[in-house]
Each structure stands twice: as C-alpha cells, then as structure tokens.
Amino acid sequence: SAVISQKPSRDICQRGTSLTIQCQVDSQVTMMFWYRQQPGQSLTLIATANQGSEATYESGFVIDKFPISRPNLTFSTLTVSNMSPEDSSIYLCSGTGGQRETQYFGPGTRLLVL
C-alpha cells in the first residue's frame, strides 16, 4: 500500500499571505486529489492533480486561488493564495492508481488563518 506524507502538518498564517502544501507518495499513483475539510465536516474535492498538465478543478474552486502542481507521479503541491480566515481548514491529499479503486490519504495539513 502507498504511504502519503504531507508538509507542513499545521500552520498559522496571516491573512493575505500564501501557503504551499506538499504531498509526497512513496510509490507511483495514477491520480492525486486535493480536498478541503472544515472541522467536523465532510470532505470537499478541490481538484484532481494531473501529472505534467493543469489540474482539473471542481465547481467553486479556481486556479488563481488554489494553484496546483504535479511535476511527477509521486509529488504534488497545493498553494492556498491570498488567504483569508475562511480558508482555515484541513487540507488533505490522496492518491490512487492501477487497479485500485480506493484512495490512500495523507495525514492532512491543519491551516489557521488569522
């Protein structure tokens, strides 16, 4: 099974700044996803990170606010840009691939914007 790590695990940021979250998978995965989860809430898919091309964003999420990179099959970054307190959340990355239909998850990044 794949192991996914995320950095940072948590951060406290000032409004108007940006934070880049890194996601590393220990084996190749076909698809990588970025989610947002408000405390006590469900997961909301932000985008699918595509290797070597632009991410595919879900309704309500735009590239200018959440730029995503995926330079290879095992690494992706999500940037939360021009942050406001409403961006305070847990950000999760996940991966899947091959015949697997389920997703492996990273431990998440807890973000607090003041």
Partner: protein, 111 residues
Amino acid sequence: SQQGEEDPQALSIQEGENATMNCSYKTSINNLQWYRQNSGRGLVHLILIRSNEREKHSGRLRVTLDTSKKSSSLLITASRAADTASYFCAINAGNNRKLIWGLGTSLAVNP
C-alpha cells in the same frame, strides 16, 4: 446534490455493543466505500462494495448495499474504544476515480 447523507450524525455506545451507521445517496453508483478518520487526521479505507454486491464482510465490519433504496449501512460488531472515530461513506459514480463524500458519523465507544 449528489452528496451522500449519513445518519446518525453522532453515535455513542458502550464497548462490546454493535454500532450501525447508514448512508443514502441520490445517483447510480459504481461502488460505495467506507472510510474511518481519527481526530481530523487522514482517512483510512475500510471496505468497498460494488453496485452488484449486496453484502460484504471484513473482520468485525459488515456492509450492506441496497441499490433500489440507494442506501448502505456499516455495522461494527463488538465495538472497542479504539473504534472511536468519524466514519464516512463515499460513492464512485463516474468513469473516473473521483469520490463524492457523505457527511460522516461521529462514533464514540465508551470503555
């Protein structure tokens, strides 16, 4: 919305008792998956049931699927304090690996 709905939102039981959580959805599915999340950490996959399956077991877990009612249930038997977590259902409905998530059930198992 295609989002799954789970009930109950919160469940508190004693160790040794069984816990049942339900999930309903609105669209045709390829499969339905259950995940566990401890204390806002990453999610762990528990069990996947395909649209042509009605019941599946894994250890103390039993999942049922009724596609005519668009609903699923997760039963945890002989619960333990370590089962305390949030449980989410997620459906795969398209021709990709994207999942649509339910609202989750928060389970507390008291020693």
